[in-house]
């Protein structure tokens, strides 16, 4: 019984300074120094969507949020509690302020044909990743880069492939699945292709390539900021 009591999270007295050090070395790569966000969301909000209370926050830290957020299962109960305490403290920092106008951004999104590849609240074409809650996942700076230099920030599970069939036909597309014996990909038109690797002349991973075009040249500075503000405001199904 004593042994179990020792395991209780309420027994562990958190140390914010320790939490800060762990965060800097283990979390900041994705959540930014001071939790301002990046590949992972900014954590500088009073209430976090997927970690609204202390218990869920500790759970998110220890077990992760698949597939993008790894669990820090090796941390001790006290260390998890310490990081959680530090993350909670970040909530008092003012959230990122974005210069753009989200309402105008929504119009840019429509005008530039983003919906031709992305689903938002069930509307659009599902070729690229769903953006319904993208603002809860990425911060403003990351979203800005995603629009002007898509290939520099690929989602964890996104990979382009090029295969050449025995007959010499080349197919490029986004990997839907791959194992040592077969590969499935979707081409630009969204059609699914499935190949046995043994029947291919070759297949290549196009690491670092994206099928999303850069919009750097098609957006004015103002349009870009509006678009980013719109994306940052997308926080889940209404």
């Amino acid at each position: 019984m004593l042994l179990l009591a020792a395991q209780s999270p309420h027994d562990a007295i958190p140390d914010v300074a320790l939490g800060k050090r762990i965060f800097a070395s283990q979390c900041a790569v994705c959540h930014g120094e001071g939790g301002t966000g990046g590949r992972g969301p900014a954590l500088t909000h009073a209430k976090l969507a997927k970690a609204p209370d202390e218990e869920s926050l500790r759970k998110a830290i220890a077990q992760g949020i698949p597939p993008e957020m790894p669990g820090a299962w090796q941390l001790s109960v006290r260390e998890v509690a310490s990081v959680a305490k530090y993350v909670q403290g970040l909530g008092t920092v003012l959230p990122e302020k974005l210069p753009g106008d989200a309402r105008r951004g929504a119009q840019v999104f429509g005008a530039k044909g983003c919906g031709g590849c992305h689903l938002v609240d069930g509307v659009g074409t599902a070729r690229g990743p769903e953006l319904t809650a993208i603002g809860a996942k990425r911060n403003g700076a990351h979203l800005r880069t995603s629009v002007i230099a898509p290939a520099s920030h690929l989602p964890e599970d996104y990979l382009m492939l090029e295969v050449t069939t025995a007959a010499g036909r080349t197919v490029r597309g986004v990997r839907a699945a791959e194992d040592p014996f077969s590969v499935q990909l979707r081409d630009a038109g969204g059609a699914l292709h499935s190949f046995r690797k043994g029947e291919l002349k070759q297949w290549r991973h196009l690491a670092g390539e994206s099928s999303m075009p850069s919009f750097a040249k098609q957006l004015s500075a103002g349009e870009l900021e509006d678009l980013v503000a719109y994306l940052a405001g997308l926080r889940g199904n209404q």
Binding site: L3, L4, A6, Q7, L18, R21, I22, A24, S25, Q26, V29, P70, A72, W73, Q74, L75, S76, V77, R78, E79, E156, D157, L159, A177, E178, D179, P180, F181, G198, H205, A207
Partner: protein, 524 residues
């Protein structure tokens, strides 16, 4: 009462041992059965059945399947006389090999306060000897079951599970004894290998994998650190009946990633030990990773191989290690003969002439994190390698993953995580794996078959010239043992995290391996 003679005859038959020790020693004479975890005592996971070959393996199809009520099946079955014996955490069953139907089931409740500290709730298989089946349980009991009915004959308490001792391995049954080791290397245990009397369950000997005060090797632990130094023993060992030596792999020191409190080499962690089968006394040891700080357990199935090295016949023990180096040692003395890296590693310049790693400075975990290959799961881990006496190649499922290692505080509290850090792996897209074939005496690469992701599957090689293994993506497959060329594959619908075996049903060769929650049996 009318036929006293017949009654007596039946009673006498029931006393006859079904699987005497001699049958296991001479298992190569009956390749249709699979009588010990690795197929033979030498750890080879090699089947002498020649029927399946590169020419006909393409005909393999599922004959039957058995579903477990758990997601991760790691069991390596035992097969004897048309019955397959399987296990799961605190469970065992006997299946009719003709139909796959369960003929008995056994279960021991897992205590509500049991916790697995640092590993999954799994079981890797049972052991068979005489008229009993042996199962090691999570709550650290060794249980003997009646082969015919699954009824319990005896249960021996190996250790108290509350501070973190547990068992996930298949026991190793040798003459009159059943050997087990323990998990708990992340809970500050003091690991050991135990031998129990096969008939009664009484403990015959215990070898502590960390020497106590006054024993040689205790000085390789600073202060009292030996008391909570880990040295788990969670993978089944090998046995040389002629030398009567048991070979066992020892796990990592604890706390895993913070070695500050345990200055020294930390014997016998990350070592192979050679133990007298009769007494459990240490004959020799060889340490692969002195003062490990990356969780590179040497908990591997040792491969015992007799072969020529530089013109001389040698009795070898070889091992592709979690630390990414391959080792060939003399198994009579522990002398290091050869070694080289068989997977990417960034922590050692190489091995010196005694086999000790020549360290690259700055590769220990730190507060900020240090990127090192291989990751904490190593270049390979618990799943079995295989050795084919035909090709003289060692087959190993290899993981190509690097990790940023962190060092954290570590405070021992019984029954809690005592690890002192952890890792963040490189992105999944940059991880990969391979089935590699290595020359037995040197570890030199003969061929590789590339995998999309780092594997968790063991390997079986067969007399027909095949190698069987599996992938995380659910493929169960056969390669040409000489060239690595893929010959057959089947999508099993769940990651393969188990060791394949081969056996005969009514004289025809079959292969069994689990994927996800399903055990598949394939035949022509």
């Amino acid at each position: 009462m009318k036929h006293p003679v017949a009654v007596l005859f039946l009673a006498g038959a029931a006393l006859q041992a079904q699987v005497p020790y001699e049958r296991i020693v001479n298992g190569h004479k009956e390749p249709g059965n699979w009588l010990t975890y690795s197929g033979n005592y030498a750890g080879h996971r090699y089947s002498g059945l020649p029927e399946l070959t590169p020419a006909n393996v393409g005909n393999l199809r599922v004959k039957w399947a058995y579903q477990f009520d758990l997601n991760r099946v790691e069991t390596s079955p035992i097969v004897d006389g048309g019955v397959m014996y399987i296990s799961a955490p605190n469970k065992a069953a006997a299946l009719d090999t003709k139909t796959g139907r369960a003929i008995w089931n056994w279960e021991r409740p897992i205590p509500a306060d049991y916790q697995s500290i640092g590993f999954g709730r799994v079981n890797r298989g049972p052991a068979i000897l005489d008229d009993k089946l042996y199962v090691a349980t999570l709550d650290c009991y060794l249980v003997a079951l009646d082969l015919k009915t699954g009824q319990q004959r005896w249960a021996a308490k190996v250790e108290d599970y509350k501070p973190g001792y547990s068992m996930t391995l298949a026991p190793l049954a040798i003459k009159g004894k059943v050997l087990v080791g323990v998990s708990g290397g992340e809970a500050g245990i003091r690991g050991f290998v135990d031998a129990y009397d096969a008939a009664t369950g009484k403990r015959v000997w215990r070898f502590y994998a960390i020497p106590g005060p006054g024993e040689p090797g205790n000085e390789t632990w600073a202060g009292d650190s030996w008391k909570t130094g880990g040295a788990s023993t969670w993978v089944t060992g090998a046995y040389d009946p002629e030398l009567n030596i048991v070979y066992w792999g020892i796990g990592n020191p604890g706390p895993d990633w913070n070695g500050d409190s345990r200055k020294g080499d930390n014997l016998y962690t990350c070592s192979f030990v050679a133990l007298d089968g009769e007494t459990g006394k240490l004959k020799w040891h060889f340490q692969f990773t002195p003062h490990d700080t990356h969780d590179w357990d040497a908990t591997h199935v040792p491969l015992l191989v007799d072969t020529e090295v530089r013109g001389r016949m040698r009795k070898l023990i070889v091992n592709p290690n979690r630390n990414a180096f391959y080792y060939a040692l003399d198994r009579t003395s522990g002398e290091f003969l050869a070694g080289q890296a068989y997977a990417k590693q960034t922590w050692a310049k190489g091995l010196d002439d005694k086999g000790r790693p020549i360290l690259i400075p700055g590769m220990e975990p730190s507060e900020e994190g240090v990127l090192v290959w291989p990751s904490l799961n190593g270049a390979t881990v618990w799943f079995s390698p295989s050795y084919s006496p035909q090709t003289k190649l060692v087959y190993v499922a290899t993981r190509e993953v690097g990790s940023t290692y962190f060092k954290r505080e570590a405070q021992y509290k019984p029954g809690t995580f005592f690890a002192g850090g952890g890792e963040t792996r490189i992105p999944e897209k940059e991880q990969w794996g391979a089935i590699r074939a290595l020359e037995v005496a040197s570890g030199k690469l003969a061929w590789e078959f590339r995998l999309v992701s780092p594997p968790w599957s063991g390997i079986l090689s067969t007399a027909g010239g095949l190698v069987f293994s599996g992938s995380n993506e659910g493929n169960i497959f056969a390669l040409d043992a000489k060239t690595g060329k893929p010959l057959w594959d089947f999508q099993g619908g769940g990651a393969v995290m188990a060791n394949p075996i081969s056996f005969a049903i009514e004289g025809k060769q079959h292969v069994a391996v689990a994927a996800g929650r399903t055990l598949y049996v394939f035949g022509q």
